[in-house]
Amino acid sequence: MSDNEPFQSGIASDSSEAVGASKPIDYERLFRDYLLDGAYDEMRAPDGSIRPHYKALIESMASLPPDELLRRKQSADLSFLTQGITFTVYGRDEGTERIFPYDMLPRLIAADEWDRIERGLTQRILALNLFLRDVYNDAKILKDGVIPRELVYSCKHYRRQMCGLEVPRNVYIAIVGSDLLRLRTGEFVVLEDNLRVPSGVSYMLTNRRVMKRTFPQLFHSYGVQPIEHYPQLLLNTLRSLAPEGRPEPNIVLLTPGVYNSAYFEHTYLARQMGIDLVEGRDLVTHDNIVYMRTTDGLKRVDVIYRRVDDDFSDPLVFRKDSGLGCAGLFNAYRAGNVTVTNAFGTGLADDKAMYAYVPDIIKYYLDEDPIINNVKTYLLTDPASRQHVLANLEHLVVKAVGESGGYGMLIGPHSTAQQREEFARAIEANPRNYIAQPTLDFSRAPCLFGSQVEPRHVDLRPYILFGDKVNIVPGGLTRVALERGSLVVNSSQGGGSKDTWILE
């Protein structure tokens, strides 16, 4: 009888999921293709043994017959479909909707590790917020020569219009999703601060819902910290930023509309918070007050959770050809009659070249050392660094500073000589536009493929809210590079996601 012979289906019952079943564990069946390499493995120590907090998960998987795993996978798939958690694949006459790829095995993070992440991100957000306030007001950090002026003024996300503007509670970045990686040493580092319109939080929430339904007992026995209150926290954050004298603020979510790839998330969050989902065409401004058109006449808007980029938000101030925003919005904002969050111009602080200065920014404003470190970054405006980078392109990753979503990137070890030449030329032509980083060997977590467990590279995006204070729900979106050996986790390029369990 081969290993793959399915068990009789009668055996499968919920009790077979119970942790610590006394059956001997057939690791071989699960781990035939699980090879360790230099990267940190979330589940296995370098000697191949299972890390303690992963034991119960693996035992429970091994005790489930393969066809039972398959059945649960199918029921989870169905659950995603019926909840309408899909994204649209374009290219055919009519877009087809697919479910967002996900993996069934949760990623586990121990409480003490999470604690450090939480402290580190809080520190980082506070410092970056102080930085934005400073740059758009007194610019002390520039006067003190900590950050070169030209780096600020040449940033394409710098918004001159924000200078001298009071923002409510001095909060520029209320909603953030930072990308973390875990290095070889097991240490978490920040790869990117997404300070403009971070997305993906709806997947974090729906992944959790499906996992709870798929592995109820396992979930219970692990004692996972809850994340379900995120929409409520978000609503409270938005409410806390309402303009003075508006005790019952009208809060709305501004979406670019149905053709935006994150439209599902916009509708999901609006529904979960019970607020209106508006498009630019629903809004009008008059005497610096923003209104929305309702069947009951014009209704004043107090807080806008903005999911439209700066450029498209107000054709009078930013791009004139935008039909997605609301003419006059910026002036109403400037007058303090409406809160827009995140504020405009926050992209200045997540510019990939500015990123290299974040440790200095933390030191400058908080007089602390960073709790979570950066990835080593070469600024190509510096001649010595540039020379080093150009000589070592095949070992490095080069990124355009203003891009996101995995675009405008050169991954040295996977590149051709021609691509390297093109990038070298582009760097020489405009060094400010690029940075370089070492190729990262980031961590891998176990993922389920059929009835086999294989390792795949993962990152982690926790979601940070900042209103009265900094709030981080314990968890985040773990993105997975589903292709074997791939380092790209972006959903637009073959990535998926998995639930993240922060243990108590």
Partner: protein, 320 residues
């Protein structure tokens, strides 16, 4: 409620009602053509097309099957069932957060059904079954709308769209067929006459309901009375206009704003006309003109809904 959202709900509902109406009338026409009466296929099709508002791009071409397929599947045709369902789904997608998951799923399933690669083959193998399954899908959608959605303002806009569309299309249908209705002569075969009259009733799913009220004794006067003036039958004009009126009242109450009476007066007048006119009075006058004026008033109501709820001017709204 956002005006854009109300607009989408209203149109989602109107398009579904329109699709249902088209399917039902097509079904009746196809089955009447099975019998060899004197009425030619061309006459029947022209009646059908007139009653669907003479849709652009469709003309009788002698090939019934091709005509029927076009009216169901041709996505480039404004009046086709496919176009109506696409438009309903697109409107629903725009307000995904306002409707229930069940509604969205039902509508989605219907959409995928008519777009599935097997749809044309199913249509060819049994037209009746196929058309019936589309109507089923629409009925299921209405059912989940009524059971899974808060009966608030959004639901009232759905109901408003459904009743206004139905009233308009029923009035159009009667206007087209009323001449046929009374042109039935004595020398024609009683069997064919009967089929004609049943056909008109079936276009409004009213045959069984009619029989409950008047027995199977079919007469043109009674048919007209039933479809126009019955209080309790959902496809009767009076019932539809009553629904329009009730929804408009509920919508006005949901907002605190005092609106000019224009809209309520127009809807109220139309309702009063159907409530207090007897069939004898209508028949003594000009039934065609009567039906035509009903259609005009429906159009007027639609325009007033837009004027006060959807496309009002900013100046007028700020002045309040």
């Amino acid at each position: 409620m956002l005006s854009r959202v109300a607009d989408s709900l209203y149109w989602m509902s109107r398009y579904l009602e329109r699709a249902e109406n088209t399917v039902r009338q097509l079904d009746v026409t196809m089955s009447l053509l099975l019998d060899t009466s004197d009425t030619t296929a061309e006459t029947r099709w022209n009646h059908l097309l007139t009653s669907l508002g003479n849709p652009e791009g469709v003309e009788w071409n002698g090939d019934m099957d091709a005509m029927a397929r076009m009216l169901v599947f041709d996505g480039t045709l404004h009046a086709s069932v496919t176009t109506c369902l696409n438009a309903a789904r697109e409107n629903a997608r725009q307000v995904r957060e306002e409707i229930s998951t069940e509604q969205w799923q039902r509508l989605n399933r219907l959409y995928h059904q008519i777009h599935s690669p097997q749809a044309q083959a199913q249509f060819r193998s049994n037209v009746n079954d196929f058309l019936a399954s589309v109507v089923d899908g629409i009925h299921l959608f209405k059912g989940v709308s009524d059971t899974t959605m808060i009966h608030g303002e959004g639901w009232q806009f759905i109901r408003l769209g459904r009743h206004l569309e139905r009233a308009y299309s029923t009035a159009t249908l009667l206007e087209v067929y009323q001449e046929t209705l009374f042109a039935v002569s004595d020398d024609e075969d009683a069997g064919y006459q009967y089929l004609e009259l049943v056909g008109i009733l079936r276009c409004c799913t009213s045959f069984e309901a009619y029989c409950q009220v008047y027995t199977a004794d079919l007469s043109p006067d009674k048919i007209l009375e039933f479809i126009l003036l019955n209080r309790d039958f959902p496809h009767a004009l009076r019932y539809s206009i009553d629904g329009v009126r009730q929804s408009l009242e509920a919508i006005q109450q949901a907002g605190g704003r005092r609106l000019p009476d224009e809209l309520m007066v127009t809807a109220g007048k139309l309702y009063a006309k159907l409530r207090f006119t007897s069939i004898e009075e209508i028949l003594e006058g000009d039934p065609g003109a009567f039906l035509h004026s009903i259609r005009e008033q429906c159009i007027q109501i639609h325009e007033l809904i837009y004027k006060y709820y959807i496309h009002y001017s900013i100046q007028s709204a700020l002045a309040v």
